[in-house]
């Protein structure tokens, strides 16, 4: 994958060296005691590229996210975010979590949630530069269509509206990498579509690399450049047409798995039980 040279660059974006991968993993390994989650993972994600991370529960998808966020050390190998080592609170990374119901009486408005994404990790009251801050928050809200409910209590918004705010919260700091950890869970189809469209638009206009952890590839299939498929320490990286095949998945799961293409969807049959001993819920791959 290559960068999109035609993508417009904005004055507010930090300068990044040209040709540097947004994410770079070299021989990456994570171990917890005796258990090796994955080993020898090499992955370069280019600016503007959309990589889906798939695999059963317990295969280390969330751990990969934690490594990139600087919350988990590699046991071996190297990781770089836009050329630098990951660190907590890095402005290079935006993070979209799973949609979780917020308390109805949470004393927080939509714009506060987005604002926390910009400077919530900083010390002090943040009294200087308030006008510039407000402008950035307003712009991020407008970009996700969240302006109409910017001043509403977040706990009283719908799941879809909350998740749009989550995208704005992740993007307001103008990150080089957008990490999405199952952001579509518990959203209906229309809202899933809205969220994926927002993320797609962003990576096309601002060259933001997207690492999208999901158990279900279909909602993002049209956007995916490459797939990282993890199963019990084994993994495969490549375009969906190369990875999402009966042969490759059978090898990864070490059992017979059939991958069917029905219209524009991918249906995986046989993987539900293959990894069952390492994840409590069956994988809802339709």
């Amino acid at each position: 994958m290559t960068a999109h040279p035609s993508a417009p660059s904005r004055a507010t974006r930090p300068v990044r060296p040209a040709g540097t991968p947004a994410i770079q993993l070299r021989g990456a390994q994570v171990r917890f005691g005796e258990r090796t989650l994955w080993d020898g993972l090499d992955l370069d994600v280019a600016p503007g590229e959309f990589v889906a991370v798939l695999g059963p529960n317990g295969s280390g998808k969330t751990t990969l996210v934690r490594v990139l966020l600087g919350l988990q050390q590699l046991s071996a190998g190297e990781v770089r975010i836009a050329g630098a080592a990951p660190r907590r609170g890095s402005p290079m990374i935006g993070y979209v979590p799973q949609q979780k119901a917020l308390e109805r009486d949470l004393p927080l408005r939509g714009r506060d949630l987005v604002g926390l994404g910009l400077d919530g990790h900083r010390f002090g009251l943040g009294l200087s530069g308030r006008a510039a801050r407000r402008a950035r928050v307003d712009a991020a809200l407008a970009a996700v269509g969240g302006t109409p409910y910017a001043n509403a209590p977040v706990g009283q918004l719908s799941g879809g509206e909350q998740q749009r705010l989550r995208v704005a919260q992740a993007l307001v700091g103008d990150p080089a990498v957008l990490l999405c950890d199952e952001p579509l869970i518990s959203l209906d189809l229309a809202h899933q579509r809205t969220v994926t469209d927002l993320i797609d638009a962003r990576r096309r206009t601002a060259d933001t690399a997207v690492l999208f952890v999901t158990h279900e590839i279909n909602p993002v299939l049209p956007l995916v450049d490459r797939v990282l498929y993890l199963v019990e320490g084994r993994f495969r990286v490549g375009p969906p047409s190369e990875v999402m095949t009966s042969e490759v998945l059978s090898e990864l799961y070490r059992t017979e798995v059939d991958v069917l293409r029905v219209r524009d969807r991918i249906v995986v049959v046989g993987a539900e039980h293959a990894g069952a001993h390492c994840h409590p819920e069956p994988e809802p791959l339709p």
């Binding site: 004393p107 408005r109 506060d112 926390l116 919530g120 990790h121 900083r122 010390f123 009251l125 943040g126």
Partner: protein, 285 residues
């Protein structure tokens, strides 16, 4: 009925009382306490820590009772008890279910121990009840100094940590991802709550600490979702309850805590009414 009302709401001799030193001390102490409690209240509500504050207050009571029996400063005992509770509850983090039961266990033990200690105490009985129901007579200049120091510590800590504290309190998952030390902040916050609670216990009493630590924040959350406005309103409500409570309790010579609790409850009812009139349970700021 009329007699009862006259007993509860009298202003006889109020003018003279207002010139007394201990009365002025009480007003000053309550003003400072209201500021600290009001600043913390919206965050306590956001973190769902009402029960933890109650538990902290009961352990402050236990500490105070132990100090009374040991013959050392009751205030110091209360601070020690509340800080211990704060440390324990802070380490429990934000996992609601586990936290709930642990607080219940610690609270029950602390309260029982406190009652036992009080019955061992041979001194004046007003000292005993002072811890449970509060008393403004007890405020002296040493207490004022300690209150002032604690207020400065609370304000300075909040000023330095306000944004990460708000982030960790309202949106802990993303806060962790953004590198906010959520667990450390949880302990720091519980310590601030413990300090403030410990100072509130001798004034409003262990039982009624919630009326200044929680109610102002809960009331504010009814009418605004803006963190800044909620904080300003909570300080206002805490001051109304505390200063108004002292003022109303002076002439009748009755415990201040009942008036404080009633006034803060009225603030809460008023906020609910405003929210209802606006047509929603909680309204955008």
């Amino acid at each position: 009925m009329i007699e009862l009302l006259e007993r509860l709401f009298t202003f006889e001799g109020l003018g003279r009382q207002l010139t007394l030193d201990f009365v002025q001390n009480a007003f000053l102490a309550c003003a400072v306490l209201g500021l600290a409690a009001g600043l913390l209240a919206p965050l306590i509500v956001a973190r769902g820590m009402s029960f933890a504050v109650h538990g902290t207050a009961e352990l402050a009571f236990t500490g105070g009772a132990a100090a009374l029996v040991a013959g050392v400063s009751v205030g110091l005992g209360a601070v020690a008890g509340a800080l211990t509770a704060g440390l324990v509850f802070g380490l429990l983090g934000l996992r609601q279910r586990e936290r709930d039961s642990v607080i219940g266990v610690v609270l029950a033990f602390g309260l029982g121990l406190g009652v036992l200690l009080l019955s061992l105490y041979k001194g004046r009985s007003s000292n005993k009840f002072g811890l449970l129901t509060g008393s403004i007579v007890s405020v002296d200049s040493t207490d004022l100094t300690v209150l002032g120091i604690v207020a400065v510590v609370v304000i300075a800590t909040l000023a330095a940590l306000y944004r990460p504290m708000l982030f960790a309190s309202t949106d802990p998952d993303v806060a962790v991802a953004r590198g906010v030390p959520v667990r450390t902040l949880s302990v720091v916050f519980a310590m601030l709550v413990g300090l403030t609670t410990a100072l509130a216990v001798p004034i409003v009493g262990a039982i009624l600490v919630l009326s200044v630590m929680i109610v102002p924040g809960a009331a504010a959350a009814r009418v605004t979702a803006s963190p800044v406005r909620a904080t300003l309103l909570a300080v206002l409500f805490a001051e109304i309850a505390l200063l108004g409570g002292v003022f109303l309790s002076l002439a009748p010579g009755l415990p201040v805590s009942g008036y404080v609790a009633a006034l803060s409850f009225l603030c809460y009812l008023g906020c609910r009414l405003v929210a209802r009139l606006r047509g929603r349970a909680t309204v955008a700021a």
